[in-house]
Amino acid sequence: MKILVLCTYPIRNPVHGGQLRVRNMVDTYLRAGHEVQVVGVLGSDQYPPEEGFVKFPGHEALVSVYPEPFLMEDYAISKLFAESQIWFERLAAKVSIVPDVIEVVQPWLFGFCQRYVVQACIQPAIVYSSQNVESSLKERIVRSYSREKRALAVADSIHTAEVAAISGSDGVICVSQTDLDWSRQHSDKSMLLAPNGVKPWAVSDEGNTAAKTIVGGKQFSIYCASAHPPNMTGFFEMFGGGFGSLMPDQSLLIVGGAGPAIAGDVRVHQSAKLAERIVVAGIVSQSCLEGLLDLAHCVVLPLTQGGGTNLKTAEALWSGRYVLATTVAMRGFEDFLGAQGVFVADDPSDFKRALRHVMALAPLQLSDADCNKRKRVLWDESLSLLPSFIEQIEKEKNINV
């Protein structure tokens, strides 16, 4: 079976959650013996060029279809590639297979997909691969930076695009039960819950040495996150107003793009002790990250926004360390609520108290049963039903055609 995957970021060297998810989906299809082509548009000029991808169109092109593209670049891209003949053709030219299935990741290229199947005179099964309830997530992000009226307008536009993608597809893949329930309101087609996962790792000597260089012998908790705005919002919501959770010889290590963003934010100095207790590791190699997770006492996931499921939660669970998370961060991993070593708190005071409590515990020793349970977060497990789901959708489409 030939599968065309449409998305707005490259996946050769995946960094953020969306990239990792698509990359692992593609790998799963390939392992199941399918032919896969990934085609798309680079949703930002920060992404490196990659075969099959049209470069980021630039501000001028986006403004031509959407007057205020700040924080709405992906939506502007969706309009540009669906409405502009030139841009449509540029992307269409990248497709080199005749797909049996087109998987559209997020709603941004769904308009293009619809136009493409008409112009190419093909009737593949279309599968919408959701990563979030995009409209509400985007509304919250825009609300943090812009006026409320704009946030509502944005949410409305994206809601329309999202519902069109869900209702216009032959099947939907969701990342969490909450998202699936929401999608169900807009379609009675087949749906699959395929949570996010993580690749198994074993700490290398190199990773261990790199990690030890950063942390010395100090006891620490770790927060791994990108500079995605909700990661900052959650961090300051949970740790604002004074941070007494850690003793002077303990630290909170921030790994990833969130580190410099948090350290450069004035709010870090407005919460007593927070600036003193955080240590910024910044973006580190995967092996170093694995080393840091191995040495950490606790992984914190102070997320208060965002739909979908958090890849970092899977990573935290797989690390075998204590996990202190909000309910939002545990979305999609609800069966780990109450599991050994997993603590959940949503109120900032509760979260801070829980962190102090966890840091005072002896290092976590998981039972065999809990070790096995945590294996459920591996990609192999979380995406195991994906090939059969796609095959079934394709079969149903053929029958209907």
């Binding site: 007494g244 290590l253 350290a263 407005q270 007593a272 002790k273 005071s349 979260f351 962190l355």
Partner: protein, 470 residues
């Protein structure tokens, strides 16, 4: 072989650097020092002082001097880098002090011009100071952000300062500790050197009511209390209110749940030396109401002024006694003091006395008709206790710890209501029977708290941590 008795140390850094009349915290440090010394065998109780890079044994020399009245000034060793003629103020306070000084020193005729000049300069100066503060933030942020950071710190180093303490010793530090840096290392002193640390929480006003304080103190004091919670075996609290405020703050921020002990301050007014000036004699020769407190926004002198304004407006000026403020003007009361100075209705009715010595204070308490204390929040409220210890009727605010001090022996008034204060002041001033009833109640029921008693409870509390393990 007999077991070594732990030495009880008291950190007298604040007292040793204080060269003016002892106020609240300085008095507490000195009273604890003097009274604890009496309770321990010779040699077991010692004083220490922070020298900038460590703690040293401190012995008040034979050269102890008298400053103004009976307040002793400890002679500092010449080598101490902390012995300045004037105490170092935060930058913002220093600018305010310079401005106040300039205003006070120029001749009367030049004041309006200087006032105009200062008003014009205020915005740019504030802007410049804010700019410096933001630059400081950014610099810190840059330091934090430069990556990758490593965690090499005290975790793998020895304690950074020298000290004379041995494992098992107790260090009592109850001064203006946040003005120094040593408190940040109490954690290491406690956990590595096994020294028992006792600190003090006077109040959480800068955290709970930063609007009444100079600069952005909320975060700084939250940080301070988190540090002393980590670094202390026990925090002495001067009231149940302060204890509750501290524990709530620690709970809210995830801070360490530290052991606390409430010790109500002694309220005996010092009867020591100094002579009574003619100015005070003149004031005391007529009926007056007394308010002892530094003049600052939180103390709420404003409600008293407004109450007096209302009463004068109603034609009751003749029946009103004078209102005497005893205390130094502080931050944020310039406009109020100007109102008081210029208001034709209350002109001459409100008197300010500054720099009164202990003898003068005692004279004022004794001569007053009654005392008032309208503070918006307190960690204790010593003047209420002092007034009652001298048998005076008191009109008091009911906020913060004040009900702990006054019990049901003082008449409480809503600190936000000038009308209520006007009514109660007028009644207490004109209804002698009513006032005498309150005085009798105080005289027969109030049990004065002595420093000696307060310190015994502190000693017992220290004993409880001495016997606890590390």
């Amino acid at each position: 072989m007999s077991e070594r008795q732990p030495t009880i140390w008291i950190n007298v850094t604040t007292s040793a650097n204080w060269h003016r009349s002892a106020v609240g915290i300085v008095r507490v440090e000195r009273e604890l020092r003097d009274n604890l010394r009496k309770l321990y065998p010779v040699g077991q109780f010692k004083e220490c002082i922070w020298t900038g890079d460590g703690f040293s044994v401190f012995a008040a020399g034979a050269g102890e001097a008298k400053a103004g009245s009976n307040i002793e000034v400890l002679e500092l060793p010449a080598a101490l880098p902390v012995s300045y003629l004037f105490p170092v103020l935060p930058k913002r306070q220093a600018v305010i002090a310079i401005a106040q000084g300039a205003m006070s020193l120029v001749p009367d005729r030049l004041r309006p011009a200087l006032d105009r000049l200062m008003r014009r300069c205020k915005a740019p100066v504030v802007q410049a100071m804010n700019y410096l503060a933001v630059r400081r933030y950014r610099k810190q942020a840059k330091i934090v952000a430069s990556e990758p950071h490593t965690m090499g710190s005290k975790a793998d180093k020895d304690l950074v300062f020298s000290h004379p303490f041995q494992a098992g010793d107790v260090l009592i530090s109850v001064g203006l500790d946040w003005s120094w840096t040593f408190y940040k290392d109490f954690y290491y002193l406690r956990t590595r050197e096994k020294v028992k640390i006792v600190t003090c929480c006077y109040d959480l006003i800068p955290v709970l009511y930063p609007q009444y304080c100079v600069g952005e103190v909320a975060s700084m004091f939250t940080s301070y209390f988190l540090d002393i919670a980590e670094g202390s075996d026990m925090v002495l609290c001067i009231s149940k209110q302060s204890e509750q405020d501290l524990l709530e703050m620690l709970d809210r921020t995830g801070g360490r749940k530290v052991k606390t002990h409430v010790f109500p301050l002694g309220d005996n007014v010092p009867s020591g030396g100094g002579s009574v000036s003619s100015e005070v004699e003149d004031v005391a020769s007529e009926p007056f109401i007394l308010f002892v407190s530094s003049i600052e926004r939180r103390k709420n002198h404003e409600v008293l002024y407004r109450a007096y304004h209302l009463l004068c407006q109603e034609g009751k000026r003749v029946q009103l006694p004078k209102l005497v403020f005893v205390g130094m003007p502080g931050w944020g009361v310039g406009d109020l003091l100007k109102d008081i100075e210029l208001d034709p209705l209350t002109k001459g009715m409100i008197i300010q006395l500054n720099h009164v010595n202990d003898a003068e204070l005692l004279k004022l308490y004794q001569s007053s008709l009654f005392c008032v204390f309208p503070s918006l929040y307190e960690g204790w409220g010593l003047p209420v206790g002092e007034a009652m210890s001298l048998g005076k009727a008191v009109l008091s605010s009911n906020r913060g710890s004040l009900p702990e001090v006054g019990g049901d022996l003082v008449c409480y008034v809503d600190p936000w209501s000038p009308r209520a204060w006007a009514d109660e002041i007028y009644r207490m001033a004109t209804d002698e029977v009513w006032r005498t009833e309150w005085e009798q109640k105080v005289k027969t029921q109030y049990q004065a708290r002595t420093w000696a008693d307060a310190v015994i409870t502190v000693k017992n509390a220290i004993q409880s941590i001495e016997s606890s393990g590390f």
